[in-house]
Symmetry: C2
Subunit: 420 residues, 2 copies
Amino acid sequence: MALPNPHGPEKKLMLLFLEGAAREAEIARAAGLPKVYMTSMETSDILMLGMGAFTPLRGFMNKAECQGCVFDLKLPDGTMWPMPVTLSISADELASSGVKEGSDVALIDRESGELYGTMTVEEIYQIDKLAQCKEVYKTDDAEGHPGVAKTMAQGEHNLGGPVKALNEGKYGAIYPKYYMYPAQSRALFEEKGWSRVVAFQTRNPMHRSHEYLVKFALESGNVDGAFIHAIVGALKAGDIPGETRVKCYEALIDNWFPKQNIALGVYPMEMRYGGPREALLHAVFRQNFGCKYLIVGRDHAGVGSYYGPFDAQTIFDELRPGALELAPMKINWTFYCYKCESMASLMTCPHEKEDRVIVSGTQFRRAMQEGAELPKEFGRPEVLAILEEYYQTAEKVEIKKHAYEDLTPEMLKKIQEGKK
Amino acid sequence: MALPNPHGPEKKLMLLFLEGAAREAEIARAAGLPKVYMTSMETSDILMLGMGAFTPLRGFMNKAECQGCVFDLKLPDGTMWPMPVTLSISADELASSGVKEGSDVALIDRESGELYGTMTVEEIYQIDKLAQCKEVYKTDDAEGHPGVAKTMAQGEHNLGGPVKALNEGKYGAIYPKYYMYPAQSRALFEEKGWSRVVAFQTRNPMHRSHEYLVKFALESGNVDGAFIHAIVGALKAGDIPGETRVKCYEALIDNWFPKQNIALGVYPMEMRYGGPREALLHAVFRQNFGCKYLIVGRDHAGVGSYYGPFDAQTIFDELRPGALELAPMKINWTFYCYKCESMASLMTCPHEKEDRVIVSGTQFRRAMQEGAELPKEFGRPEVLAILEEYYQTAEKVEIKKHAYEDLTPEMLKKIQEGKK
């Protein structure tokens, strides 16, 4: 059996990174182009585009693509696509930069000032941001929902057109073993003899529940191996930074999984917290990475209480047949049950709430910050030890580094005050 | 979603049991017909035929059907069928009974002398029993393999033709809550709102490993409920009788499963120990019972070491697409691991053999008979208590009652001496 095809009609990975002399020449050319400044999310999207994770996209969406995916879950050619991948610019910057339809522009990360790519601006257009948020995020709550906040904070105009990616950013250096392109994960799977790979999306350290999800995906008999695929782009306040999480994943894999059945990778996207729509996006690019299944648990890619706990599962049922080659593995709410003496879910455990270890994120962070003991059934000791160290030393600075650089101070304040 | 269709081109359950006046009339008519005496397996097959479990079969196979399923895994109309369902008669009895092609005959259980049905003998034929065994059982070892032993012990001639079933036997009385026809299990599933039911085939008491198989089938996200479906026809020496096992299943379900997700049923077939071929038979009739999935673990329906541990899984891959509406859920060797602190399998546990609780059937029986302690991770206490009581009081007589009534004394002796 072969790995699933890359997404889209051509079934071929789009590699938008230039290399060698072509790259050097394009960097030189970029110096003379008008500059467009990108938010951290736009910068992370260039990396996803560049490596082919967003195949079949060849750049930032034009209006028809954007509207198609927002309102109809598909690109103009009919390919399923669930979330906008767009580049915005404020009216002021548009005027001062002199960018017009037909211009080539240099794409600069606003935070670092680094060049990440170039783009031919085929279209400059406006969208109804509020309508887009209501469709994509099912809410227009810019104060509470980080995805909506980012959308509402972005410039009034979008620039659509094909991209040439020129800069790998920091990820390869930070995660030399785990940062990989879709072509690389596919090669890894083939080397391992896997054709049926299940992806586990994670933005958290993996506790017993997460381990359980991956393990029973492995038990399903449908799977040759599991790909722990961790997002390491910017997260929201309180999420644990990628470097720390990768140590946790390593500790878990080294001690608690058969090595031959598991692989770890990281990818540079920034979470949108889009719940069901983001679950579909996760599925699309996992197919590009060569995975046949994606574990979709409770409140996948959700935040606050904007989505029903299983909305991210049921949205897959609404796709037309053939929209994806990847299939979701849908899994219920899991916990450790002292009476079952095992991990379990509402499908399998007949006992009471009091018999179960359910630790909320808030309880978890409080316990960690205060040095309180967590039940051993919550997480493996090697993982908890790493987190304990992190919380004792790193939290205050890390939160600043990893959240919402592109939001207004008022928005940031409200989010940090906990109005989820 | 609807339950899977009954097997066969008509997608309709065959109910061969007569009822009411028609049944009375047929019983009266049978009194005047030549008698054909059936082995316990043939008698159990009439029950399976009668209730529609062997849909689309309408009686004992004729030669084309028998040869088709033995050598090509299909009936003459192309319907997948994996094992013979035949009625045999010795040359002597054939001569003395006066049965001819075209005769109607009364079908009598040899052990009890009771009438179970009538049949129109459309064809009298001979088969190459050894060739059949080599195809179906992958061995011709009549001394070691109980299925081969039964085949080789049967009469030289087969009688093929449609059956009218007239007698329910003892099962309804012994298992009033659990003995059900395919139409009844389907009604039960529909009442529960289940359309995606996973069947668990069992001829043993359920230990932690079995519980784990069912639980992670429930976790798979593909399943609305699990149907524990226990064989209660004659077993081989040393297997635990149905009445005792049903108590074990009840104890397990009552204490360790959410009631809304699980159902228990029993069926009267006699094990053939046919490994891969029998796994397919289990799949065919589970589809008739309304199930969408069948759990197929290690050495499903096997005996001794005639089959590779996963042959019963891979045989499903050889079926032509559409041969079955039911799909297997294939599962690896499972055990409790003290280091994982959970049930696990070779897919999920990285630890050593010494860390695992693996109790063989022999060790289990010895521990039970000697009153030795079994590790609590092997079975749930409520189940082990029932088995302890059984082994202390019942074994010697039960073995006699439940094995090989139809084998020659020499064969029985050899089998009982432990040559599996």
